[in-house]
Symmetry: C2
């Protein structure tokens, strides 16, 4: 496994690669969710590259950029064990040199949900992903369904800007009790960790209701809200039942919908989602 920290080194390594390249952009602190992306990338491409970069521009000024968990040594061991060929680990100044001033903005779909609560977040995501694609020059890039809106935003950017990469979406990986894997789960104390199960439970409840014939988004949202509010430490930020392509809220479920939610447990903010489709 080759590990590089500059764009020049990456480009030199990239030139050695003949055939298809699968690329997994990450912010590090890897868990089984990331590793499932690497495995999928390996199975579909001749070579596999990953990046580890905690992207400052996607964190708000009051968010957890400084304290975001980092463990590069462990990350590299895990990537090596999965057979990754090439890892790009740039310093922030390699990605945002002095005087940096170009931003990619996907409008409308970034104003909802996560984008509404985290202004500027998706501008940072779109910009860094655009840059990483231009640097990495992948055939395919792999993203987890866990960050559902990110998947929609990145797919929209790639389509709108005619980028030459195929986006592959990989199902959310969960702990055995249902909690979606996330690097931020490490912030949870044991009590919060237990409470956080309500995310998955409420999504399961939504599915049950839908399978039972409920088509009113309000009714499903109310049932989820009641369930989550029964957890004293849980604070709901949003519960959304929306069209998967443009994230517009719907009232009557007639076609596939994305149910997504963000809930705070103490200082930790978690998200999860589920598609309801035939």
């Amino acid at each position: 496994m080759k590990i590089v920290s500059t764009i020049t080194e990456y480009k030199n390594a990239r030139r050695q690669i003949g055939g298809s390249l699968g690329f997994v952009p990450t912010m590090g602190y890897l868990h089984e969710g990331h590793l499932s992306l690497v495995r999928r990338a390996r199975s579909e491409n001749d070579f596999t590259a990953a990046s580890i970069f905690v992207n400052p521009s996607q964190f708000g000024p009051k968010e957890d950029f400084a304290t975001y968990p980092r463990d590069p040594d462990k990350d590299l061991r895990l990537l090596e064990d999965e057979g990754t060929d090439l890892v790009f680990m740039p310093a922030p100044a390699e990605i945002y040199p002095e005087g940096y001033s170009t931003w990619v903005n996907v409008e409308k779909i970034t104003e909802r949900l996560e984008g509404a609560v985290r202004p500027g977040h998706f501008r940072g995501v779109a910009t860094v992903v655009c840059k990483l694609f231009n640097i990495a020059e992948p055939t395919r890039a792999y993203f987890g369904q866990k960050d559902a809106q990110q998947v929609v935003v990145v797919s929209k950017m790639v389509a709108d800007l005619n980028m030459n990469v195929e986006i592959v979406i990989v199902p959310t990986v969960r702990e055995s009790d249902g909690l979606a894997m996330s690097s931020r789960n490490v912030y949870l104390d044991p009590q919060e960790r237990q409470s956080a199960l309500v995310l998955w439970k409420s999504l399961q409840r939504a599915k049950e209701l839908w399978l039972g014939g409920e088509r009113r988004a309000d009714a499903i949202r109310s049932a989820m809200t009641a369930m989550i509010e029964s957890e004293p430490s849980a604070g709901i930020e949003y519960i959304s039942i929306a069209r998967p392509d443009n994230l517009e809220e719907i009232e009557e479920i007639r076609s596939p919908v994305l149910v997504s939610l963000a809930v705070r447990f103490g200082k930790t903010r978690l998200i999860d989602n589920m598609m309801l489709e035939a």
Copy 2:
């Protein structure tokens, strides 16, 4: 010469090209300035492609998108005569399909000069150039120095977004009397055409003063202003003496500077520029 109007057709044609590709993005109504770009592209690459697309997103609501001069048949004859291999002529809906919502914004340098007078102009330019590069996949792309700020903005976008293309800047081509070639020159009536010579004359005057040792930007700007104001039909929008890299106005000329100006003649707005360098 192959002429295509859809991205799919272009990509099919692009796949046939082995070796380097020089790309000349244009808005059509070609003149010797464009053709000098094509000749330069041909001389430096194995294959040459051009695009003809009057980009709606770089025109303000009160600007001349609808009346911008168009003559695709003549354009294609000229491109064929220059040995162009491939021409991409998309309809607006091919570039901006329904629901299009992603924009590339180069901040700061786009707020000055043309950007100050034409809000949103460079957002449209950066976005369409980003898209055209991703579609065309050129080795090198050719731009005229005539649109000096456009050159700075495109170069900055390519550097910031790590795009895999080399930007080549080609000197302004002028009529025998000095007027910079522009598709918009066709708007000028004979009287305005004569008055418009003051653009080039004032730049020549700036160079004379500078060669004579004048280093105060104000003094040079005043001399240019007086000369242009002596033309009754000329209305100055700006006269700038700025650093070529970030377009910041300077007071004392110590290193190379870009002298640029925008002047109205009746309803027609013309720009021109000159570098002052050792």
